[in-house]
């Protein structure tokens, strides 16, 4: 079985589990949770940098998802849908905590090219995670969604409730700061 077939099979069965969960089957929903919890928690943790807060966000994401399952369109990706909810939950908590930070005017400079986010020389994983964690929230959010989770500029901007240009500017800022902190060229 090829990787594509495995993935296709997984998604097919995911659809059946969604149908069951919609009918109130919590066991089916638990299966979906087990399948997606790691990636949702990974996203929340990278956005919040606080494990306990990330756990709260993950729980709230799945509770909100359960409540809104009827609105989920099965033709779209459940993972993406959950990530959207997770981003909303995380941003909501950040707003409540008053941790919003505007992008400094001087740094509003868009990414002028499609970033591959490759490093000139190999970098330790932990070193990179720490450097990402040290980024300002706005730049970190954009980087995590775009460079780690593979969302396009448009998708990342929509998820974050930003104009696409602002999202690109945040990415530019993230690249610049990473380059400085890691002391390595980020191409």
């Amino acid at each position: 079985m090829t990787l594509a077939q495995v993935e296709s099979s997984r998604i097919d069965w995911e659809g059946a589990l969604v149908e069951r969960a919609r009918a109130g089957d919590t066991r089916a929903f638990e299966r979906l949770y087990r399948e997606h919890a790691g990636r949702v928690y990974g996203l929340c943790l990278r956005m919040t940098r606080e494990p306990h807060l990330a756990e709260d966000c993950t729980q709230e994401t799945f509770i909100n998802a359960w409540r809104a399952l009827a609105q989920f369109e099965t033709r779209s990706s459940l993972g993406t849908w959950l990530h959207r909810i997770a981003v909303n939950v995380t941003l909501g908590k950040r707003r409540k905590a008053g941790r919003e930070e505007p992008l400094p005017e001087s740094e509003i400079e868009e990414e002028g090219f499609e970033p591959h986010w490759t490093f000139e020389t190999p970098v330790e994983v932990q070193e990179i995670e720490d450097a990402i964690g040290a980024l300002p929230a706005g730049a970190r959010d954009a980087l995590v969604l775009h460079a780690l989770y593979g969302y396009s500029h448009t998708e990342a901007a929509q998820m974050l409730g930003l104009a696409e240009g602002t999202c690109k500017a945040q990415l530019h800022r993230a690249r610049k700061l990473l380059r400085e902190r890691l002391n390595v060229e980020v191409g």
Partner: protein
Amino acid sequence: MTEQGHKGVIRSLGELPRGVEPGRDLWPQIEAQIAGRAPAAPAVTAPVSRAASGTRLRWLAAAAMVGCVAVGVWIGHSVPLGGAAAPPLAAGHPGAGALQTAWVADPRYQREHAELMRSLGDQVAALPPASRAKVMASLTTIREAKHNLEEALGKDPGNSLLQELLVNTYQDEMRVLTDVREASDAGKGI
């Protein structure tokens, strides 16, 4: 982020693992929050987008569940799963599938299933034609799903999702059979 403790070096951000396991199991608290609360406006009978149509198996599994729910609604009562008909299953952890499929071969299940099947003929024969057609259509859908799931499991025996869906389909069948019997016993004249 130190709790992740990733090791090694990478050459691009895309190589970072997307998934990070939480430090504890978050499911129990999620389950406590959603228990007893069905998702808003369950779309059990809503048509599912054809654009996402994948293998036939997926639809059969979903159809089995829809057929079962339809019969439950039609009979006008719900029958909780319990006893030999549907012993409690292990939580849906990966790897729990083998445990789940084991109860299908449980002699208690086999006995109860055989008994229900024996009496089903008379009960269904006594139904009005429209009701009989509904029951038979549901059972046909469920059995077709069972057959296809078993066939798929034959090719991929370790697939825990397939195992779980098969067990759910067995449960659906038992639920329909039990509903029909109980409605008949209660003299509801279905």
